[in-house]
């Protein structure tokens, strides 16, 4: 055990820190749940990519830096520390990108990865359907093969950022007689295809952060299939592994929230200390964010030495999502009567982004497999309890 960074790692940290200091927009971008903000975030992705910081873990020939997991964690620490914009293309670069590298043909990689890295193609996910939520194997949307085209019919929902996205990846039933996990195929669909209707769904903040998507005889070329026909489930599961989880929600994000929470408490100590539970919650939030960081580094080190990830990785999502919710709940308590006010309200001085974060934290225990599903997985696969 050696809990210190190598010179090379320190140099890497310095390099990204300096680049971010020179390039992160001084004015925060508008939220990517607005058309204008979406466009701003798309441009930011292009800027990142020009600096070769778009996806540092990707190989160099794809515009990356071939970084390992520890360097990825360092990158994230500096990224969140600098208050850089959220990643509008996270579905693409963090989820689909690695899946393409594993399952894609050379032609598909060349076609999709550079455009993804440059922010030209922003990706949305197409998993959930009205009757396939936690029970994802109940997918009913179909893709019928006719010649060299799939004809897609059906409906997807809860598709984040689909309102302005360019592409969608998801699973469709290619074998009409199949049941459950079998007969599903992973297909990449241009969202400007004829026959697609996108209906925005306003989220808790009133903005169209996700959408439902209707497919009416949508034709997609067979070259847009990722992996074999009928192998969709296995391809999709690859997008849900630990490393993807690590990409999506690395500890830096929560450590920065914890730091801001400590700051908020200190600024408001005169009123907040009236409730001793608040102080306790701040201490716990900071400790849990640190524990998440320590555990992540431990796992990343084990993996980079050839270790295998086990079922214990399913504890990860419960831990960070509950932490995020608890931290924002504590911030709301500290803000007291100001907590409900939107940032531009005259009496809202100093509320910052807490309300937005509080709303978003409500979604954490739900998306990417509800925490109840995660608990079942932990109990059955990690602890070996009976099904």
């Amino acid at each position: 055990m050696q809990l210190a960074f190598t010179e090379q790692q320190q140099a890497f940290r310095k390099e990204i820190r300096e680049w971010l200091a020179a390039n992160v927009p001084a004015e925060p971008l508008k939220t990517f749940d607005t058309e204008e903000g979406f466009q701003q975030h798309r441009e930011w992705e292009a800027t990142l990519n020009e600096g070769r910081w778009g996806m540092v873990t990707w190989p160099e020939e794809l515009g990356g830096r071939g970084c390992d997991l520890i360097e990825w964690l360092i990158f994230e620490e500096e990224y969140y520390r600098a208050g850089a914009p959220l990643r509008v293309n996270q579905n693409g670069i963090f989820l689909l990108g690695p899946t393409l590298m594993e399952y894609g043909t050379d032609e598909q990689k060349a076609r999709f990865l550079p455009a993804m890295a440059e922010g030209r193609d922003i990706w949305a996910q197409g998993w959930s359907e009205p009757n396939a939520g936690s029970d994802m194997a109940a997918i009913r949307s179909t893709a019928r093969l006719e010649g060299d085209k799939y004809i897609i019919n059906g409906q997807k929902t809860w598709s984040t950022r689909a309102v302005w996205a360019d592409w969608l990846f998801g699973m469709f039933r290619t074998d009409p007689d199949s049941q459950r996990h079998r007969g599903l195929t992973f297909i990449l669909v241009p969202l400007n295809s004829p026959g697609i209707t996108i209906r925005p769904i306003p989220q808790l903040d009133g903005l169209p952060g996700f959408a439902e998507i209707f497919f009416d005889n949508v034709e997609v070329d067979v070259s847009n299939r990722l992996g074999d026909e009928g192998a969709g489930w296995a391809v999709a599961m690859a997008t849900a592994g630990f490393e993807r989880g690590l990409m999506l929600r690395s500890p830096a994000r929560f450590q920065e929230t914890a730091r801001r929470l400590v700051e908020l408490y200190r600024e408001n100590e005169a009123t907040a200390s009236a409730d001793p539970a608040i102080r306790e919650a701040v201490i716990r939030a900071w400790m849990d964010a640190e524990a998440y960081c320590l555990s992540t580094y431990q796992t990343a080190c084990r993996l980079s030495q050839g270790g295998k990830i086990g079922a214990e990785s399913s504890t990860n999502k419960i831990f960070w999502s509950e932490l995020d919710q608890a931290m924002h709940a504590t911030a709301m308590s500290i803000l007291g009567a100001r907590a409900e006010l939107l940032p531009h309200a005259p009496a809202a001085q100093g509320v910052g982004r807490w309300l937005d974060g509080w709303l978003f934290s409500q979604s954490g225990p739900i998306y990417a497999g509800t925490n109840e599903i995660q608990r079942n997985i932990i109990a059955e696969r990690m602890l070996g309890m009976p099904r």
Binding site: Y80, L294, G384
Partner: protein, 348 residues
């Protein structure tokens, strides 16, 4: 950056685990409750032969010269079996204190500890009572930052019964004319280091205890049937245990880091130990709470083994610094003016 244990460390853990699981059965623990001392000289000798009593004894005093980091996984295994012998405190607290005191005292006693011929026990004022004072051949007693090295003729020990029948706790009174062997700033430094080491031992054992309670509960709920099925197949029961698994999983790395800090980063040790002890004891307390729940009425009995581990977990949570003390350690760092917090501040 390498946050992994070495192959040797993991192998040693395997060896110690299989020895302890075979030897320290719940039946043997129960038999020990009814003996005079509750301690087993033959077992202590076996632990010495495995090198465990001398693990942190320097090589020049016939020990293995190993570190807290080398021992922390073993302490976890001691927790897993609820080992009653005072091995964890001896290796992590008493021996390092003796090394720190140095001189003839260390030269006389350390080889005997390594050989299993003598037991050295450390007792801090903050702990109210002294664990295992009745079997101490040498008691290192701290009072107000002053340290005394006492042989059994120099103190009297009055037993305090614990709800955990495996624990032997004593109120100690110095009877003879004992002069402090260390005091002043050095004495206070040793007091704090010892408290941290004791707390680290509690944290590591708490990880093992939590794991044991999970294992017992998984086994019980897989066998016990109601409504025609094992109760472990019900989500309400599963989720109780999954919640424990989550807290336990995220307590492991803080404990490893605390052990590392104990050896390598004295300035950061109090904070790292506080985080570790709070996280690990919370995991063990949750394991106790949810395990008794899924055991139903059986969990409330003397007959089922669960209470052996539950009671030890409860006790460890409030000794070697209770939660209030350790939270205060964390608070004093994170609420300090100019504290370096946030992303990238964890490893300094």
């Amino acid at each position: 950056m390498d946050f992994t244990f070495s192959e040797d460390q993991l192998l040693f853990q395997e060896t110690v685990r299989s020895f302890l699981v075979n030897e320290i059965t719940p039946e043997r623990l129960r038999a020990g409750w009814d003996t005079d001392t509750g301690r087993d000289a033959a077992l202590w000798q076996q632990l010495a032969e495995m090198g465990l009593t001398g693990l942190t004894v320097p090589e020049e005093h016939d020990g293995l010269g190993m570190s807290a980091l080398d021992f922390v996984l073993l302490a976890q295994e001691c927790g897993y079996v609820a080992l009653p012998e005072p091995l964890v405190n001896s290796v992590l607290v008493a021996v390092p204190a003796l090394v720190d005191l140095g001189g003839e005292l260390a030269a006389e006693w350390l080889p005997k500890v390594a050989a299993g011929e003598a037991r050295v026990v450390a007792g801090l004022e903050q702990n109210l009572v002294v664990e295992d004072a009745h079997v101490a051949d040498l008691l290192l007693l701290e009072r107000s930052g002053q340290w005394f090295a006492l042989t059994p003729d120099q103190f009297s020990a009055e037993r305090n019964e614990s709800i955990d029948p495996g624990r032997r706790l004593f109120s100690v009174t110095v009877t003879g004319n004992a002069e402090p062997v260390l005091s002043g700033e050095a004495g206070d430094r040793l007091r704090l280091a010892s408290l941290n080491r004791g707390a680290l031992g509690c944290a590591a054992q708490a990880l093992g205890l939590a794991q044991r309670m999970i294992d017992l509960s998984v086994q019980y709920t897989s066998e016990r049937q109601q409504f025609g099925k094992p109760i472990g197949s019900f989500q309400a029961v599963k989720h109780h245990m999954a919640n424990v698994a989550v807290r336990l999983e995220y307590a492991r790395a803080p404990v490893a880091r605390a052990a590392y800090a104990m050896d390598e980063d004295a300035a950061g040790a109090s904070l790292a130990v506080a985080q570790a002890k709070l996280a690990a004891c919370e995991a063990a307390n949750l394991a106790a709470k949810n395990s008794i729940q899924v055991h139903g009425a059986m969990g409330y009995t003397w007959e089922v083994d669960l209470h052996i581990f539950m009671k030890k977990a409860w006790a460890l949570a409030n000794t070697w610094g209770d939660a209030g003390y350790h939270k205060q350690q964390v608070a004093s760092v994170i609420f300090a003016e100019g504290a370096a917090l946030g992303a990238g501040s964890t490893f300094r």
